[in-house]
Amino acid sequence: MVKDMPLNVQRREIVIPGELLADGKYLAGANTIKEGDAIYATRVGLANIEGNRIAVVALAGCYIPAVGDQVIGRIVDIGLSGWQVDIDAPYPAMLPASEAVDHRQEHLKQDLTRILDVGDLIIAKVLAFDRTRDPLLTIKDQGLGRITSGRVVKISPAKVPRLIGRKGSMISMIKRETGCQVIVGKNGRILVSSRYPFREQVAVAAIYKIDREAHIEGLTDRVREMIRRMIMDASIHPE
């Protein structure tokens, strides 16, 4: 930190909109605005200082699609040439039929419900999105498509980065400890699947804990401890 550049907050301190973060030659990062030399927070979150860039890690907020994001959505309507998908964003997403089937299977276009019906859950990727047009999805890639088993749980999209952790540390720990398959949609919907319902339950409990306690440090250790305790308790007192 350079002298004479007052910093108003500490790292990981909870800030609210309009709170003065710093005054001086700092750069304004995510969720902040700069007025002159003063940097203010624009959302409720945790202050984050990296070098001379000040940002706020938001603790609440909606999902805004970005190209390349993997999301979990629900089919809400079927049109002539595709599906409308609810991805928990302020914009309705479209999944065109051409992004769901091979061109060779053209005849399937006759009846789209045979591929996906209203109410089906899908893992999809955002193919295109900008502020002027609604998001376009695809299920053509590896690992995408209709969800056939498991549980989908919902958390705040703002907490998704915390669920993944630094370089995926949190999510890989959950997978390792519970033995579940976990697929994270950037829109805050998470698919948990395992052959053992109890293990699914443990993973879901861990995910909810992260949603609730995302702003408190030492989360990975606490979650690991919780998972181990739950699994141990179950083995001591089997139902």
Binding site: P17, E35, V44, R131, E213
Partner: protein, 255 residues
């Protein structure tokens, strides 16, 4: 001790400068704020200011319905101020009145400068303020609570908005008038500000104030808004700190 007034000739301010509800001239009513109380809303807040009880829910940014209200370059902010039928002494018709419509507009315009709506084009942000019990100064309390609910919903804002009114009663400038003072007073001056940016987003006046009284009243209101803003900050941070506290308690029990 609160004193009730028997008839109109009763003065609302005693010789000792104490008001009908026992406050000093520049004293706010007791305020209680809470954030994140509704599960179904994206953001919510509850405020008690004296006998006022107001609940605010925020939804959005979400898809605009009907579609033609959407704007291509920013989000539309929509507000609904509504008094519950049981919020006043005599039953109030639940249908939106002329006054409700006006206050909805006033509240929207007080919040609009704070919300960074350009980030979410073609969407709407809906604010619902429900007055459960009213005792004067509900528009200001609604603005204070609405700004809390917006922040709770994670909607980007330049600053919080805090509001407070000043009135003229028995020839004296008083802070945060209650219903009796409001109805029998000579003037009413609601003010909303963005405290960190030092900007006024709402300034209304009815009745008559001299230039000197207006200036004194405005300064009084701004000072009160800054105090209210402090309470807002506390309430917002409390939501997250409470989780931490409850966690420590739980952890302590286990050991």
């Amino acid at each position: 001790m609160p004193r009730s007034i028997q008839n109109k000739s009763d003065r609302l301010i005693g010789k000792d400068g104490i008001r009908v509800d026992g406050r000093r001239l520049d004293e706010l009513r007791p305020i209680k704020m809470e954030v994140g109380i509704l599960d179904k809303a994206d953001g919510s807040a509850y405020i008690e200011q004296g006998k006022n009880k107001i609940m605010v829910a925020v939804f959005g940014p979400r898809e605009a319905h009907p579609k033609h209200v959407a704007l291509t370059d920013r989000a539309v902010l929509r507000c609904r101020y509504h008094m519950a039928p049981f919020s006043t002494e005599e039953r109030r018709s639940p249908a939106p009145s002329r006054r409700d419509m006006e206050l909805s507009k006033v509240i929207r315009e007080a919040l609009e400068p704070a919300v960074i709506s350009q980030l979410y084009p073609r969407t709407t942000i809906d604010v619902f303020a429900e007055i459960l019990q009213s005792d004067g100064g509900t528009r200001c309390a609604s603005i204070t609570a609405a700004s809390l609910a917006l922040a709770d919903a994670g909607i980007p804002m330049r600053d919080m908005v805090a509001a407070c009114a000043v009135g003229k009663v028995d020839g004296e400038i008083v802070l945060d008038p209650c219903d009796i003072e409001d109805k029998n007073g000579e003037a009413d001056l609601p003010v909303a500000i963005m405290p960190n940016l030092g900007m006024i987003t709402l300034l209304q006046m009815d009745g008559k104030l001299s230039k000197e009284e207006f200036e004194r009243g405005l300064n009084m209101a701004i000072k009160a808004c800054v105090e209210i803003h402090g309470r807002q900050r506390e309430a917002l941070k409390n939501k997250y700190l409470e989780i931490e506290r409850s966690m420590e308690e739980y952890g302590g029990e286990e050991q």
